[in-house]
């Protein structure tokens, strides 16, 4: 109560009295607050005149400030300032700074780029960020892939070929893996024989009797495995049919399971169900020709380029 009394003594009133003694407190805003408010009003007015703001007639006021940029067609243009024009300007300036390198990438052959130490540095730094942004989600940050889903790019086993040209082709147009389902064409026993034969090719413990029957099946027109995987079972890179003799596994989850029986079962599962995944998107529309060339060399240099 005493505080209230104190307040009534120090706070000014509006000076008007109703009913003899009824008065109203007057608490004006602090001066710093009021002046800050007026400054923001002035700021808004200045901002309105400099930047695009008020609609008027059939358009809007572009603002007093302008920006001059050179577009990709080489034309110099001036427009009222906006972030889109600024972006064109910045991108073309950045490309001027990077241009010598990208020009070299365009003009040099893959072999020349790979051998030139300066270009190699550019490939490693530019390629790394391109790879991280676009490729690492599937192939992982080191290119090691995910067994069962996405191929390892750091080893020397390639589905479609590991030459510069083949990597470039893969990046440009993408890929689509496919293996038919055999569970309806072959009996369970036949699939078991094939799985044992495929296991034998990679030195995995198997049933020799079943494997030799599988060998016959593999090269017969009934299963016709050799159409795609070739007579020597070393695969066909032109259609992305993997080599079955190198004990490197992408689709069958052989490395993760323990024991020969489980490993054969993993192979059997792929033969029975086939594959319709192995999809790699095409990058031709999303990345520039130079960026794809940088990535080609980068992937080639991950360890397994041929």
């Amino acid at each position: 109560m005493s505080e209230q009394k104190l307040q009534s003594q120090t706070v000014q009133t509006t000076g008007h009295a109703w009913d003899g003694d009824l008065q109203e407190y007057n608490n004006p805003l602090p001066a710093w607050w009021v002046y800050t408010f007026y400054v923001t009003v002035v700021f808004a007015l200045v901002y309105w005149t400099i930047y695009p703001s008020w609609p008027i007639g059939k358009g809007w006021i572009g603002g007093a400030s302008s920006i001059t940029y050179v577009n990709s067609a080489g034309e110099t243009k001036t427009h009222s300032w906006n972030t889109r024009a600024l972006l064109v300007k910045e991108l073309n300036e950045a490309s001027v700074a990077q241009k010598p390198y990208f020009d070299k990438v365009s003009s040099m052959s893959y072999e020349q780029i790979a051998k030139d130490p300066e270009m190699n540095g550019f490939i490693i730094s530019a390629g790394k960020s391109l790879f991280a942004d676009n490729c690492a989600a599937c192939h992982q940050s080191g290119g090691q892939g995910v067994v069962g889903f996405f191929p390892n790019l750091a080893d020397d086993d390639w589905l479609y070929g590991g030459s510069f040209d083949k990597i470039h082709e893969t990046l440009l147009g993408g890929r689509r893996g496919y293996m038919p389902t055999f569970s309806e064409v072959l009996s369970g026993a036949q699939i078991d024989q094939l799985a044992n034969y495929v296991a034998s090719l990679s030195g995995i413990g198997h049933d020799a009797t079943k494997a030799s029957a599988g060998n016959v099946l593999f090269h017969s027109d009934t299963a016709a495995c050799f159409y795609c995987h070739a007579v020597d079972a070393k695969g066909r890179k032109d259609i992305g049919a993997p080599n079955l003799t190198d004990n490197i596994w992408l689709w069958a989850n052989v490395p993760a399971v323990q024991g020969d029986v489980s490993k054969v079962a993993a192979i059997r599962e792929v033969i029975a169900n086939g594959l319709n995944k192995g999809v790699m998107p095409a990058w031709a529309g999303r990345l520039s020709a130079e960026q794809i060339k940088v990535l080609t060399v980068y992937v080639h240099e991950l360890g397994g380029g041929q």
């Binding site: 509006t14 008007h16 004006p28 001066a31 009021v34 695009p52 609609p55 059939k58 358009g59 809007w60 940029y69 577009n71 990709s72 067609a73 243009k77 427009h79 906006n82 972030t83 889109r84 024009a85 600024l86 972006l87 064109v88 910045e90 991108l91 073309n92 950045a94 942004d133 676009n134 989600a137 599937c138 992982q140 995910v146 889903f149 996405f150 319709n276 995944k277 192995g278 999809v279 790699m280 998107p281 095409a282 529309g285 999303r286």
Partner: protein, 248 residues
């Protein structure tokens, strides 16, 4: 206050108060309403932008239901770093059929405005079920139920009718269908016809088999169909790098 301004002047002069009140409301109204008359001029004239097909639209419903927008924006800003990472900046035209738009302002995960066709369907399936199996450092939650939950398609047409009410050109009558044929071409117009909604949805889902599971149409089918179309409608190779400067 140094100069002797008093509220009393206004409070005791009803004429002045009326004038100042109207002035304050007019400014507020002008700033809020006037831009609406000019908004069409800021929407870029580009080819290819169309409303979502029934399946994509159902995927979009699931996207909003699961709250994907809380961590993922769909708005690539016209900055150099964003252009290099995500692609061309988002256009107003690209979200003109979005109700509500998914621009967002919070990026815990990456922007998704151009995620369409960037990864395979198989990747999306694995990544939505168990994100860390694909991206070890990810903090995204698992969404395993999307694959096991059948998509409810019973109210597809009703949902499209609601969007039609707010201006999305889904067609109900033959005249509207014909108008869509002129505007979007016949292939797209068929997808936008509400009476065929369920048939179109089933066709696209069965043909696309987005979740890799032929046994039925799951919520994941719809969600991936939606994700795979994001940002892919406009072919930017047809436009120069400063084609959209004039709209700002």
């Amino acid at each position: 206050m140094n100069f002797n301004f008093k509220h009393e002047w206004i409070e005791t002069n009803i004429g002045l108060m009326a004038v100042l009140t109207m002035l304050a409301i007019s400014v507020g109204g002008l700033v809020e309403i006037a831009p609406l008359f000019f908004i069409d001029k800021t929407i870029e004239k580009v080819d290819g932008v169309r409303p979502y097909t029934p399946l994509e639209q159902r995927g979009r419903d699931i996207y909003t239901r699961e709250g994907c927008y809380l961590c993922h924006s769909q708005m690539i800003r016209p900055f150099r770093d964003e252009k290099l990472r995500y692609g061309h900046y988002s256009l107003a035209a690209e979200s003109q059929y979005d109700h509500p738009f998914q621009w967002g302002s919070k990026r815990t995960g990456p922007d998704l405005a151009r995620v369409g066709a960037k990864y395979s369907n198989e990747w999306h399936v694995q990544h939505l079920i168990a994100p860390r199996s694909m991206v070890p450092e990810s903090v995204m939650p698992n969404y395993p139920w999307l694959l096991s939950t059948p998509l409810d398609i019973s109210d597809t047409a009703a949902r499209m009718k609601a969007l039609r009410k707010v201006g999305v050109p889904y067609s109900l009558t033959q005249a509207e269908y014909d108008a869509n044929v002129v505007k979007f071409g016949e292939t797209v117009a068929r997808q936008l016809h509400i009476p065929d909604a369920q048939k179109n949805l089933l066709e696209q889902a069965n043909f696309g088999n987005y979740d890799g599971d032929r046994s039925g149409i799951s919520e994941l089918d719809a969600l991936i169909a939606y994700l795979q179309v994001l940002g892919t409608m406009v072919d930017f190779s047809k436009y120069t790098d400063d084609a959209f400067v004039k709209y700002r």
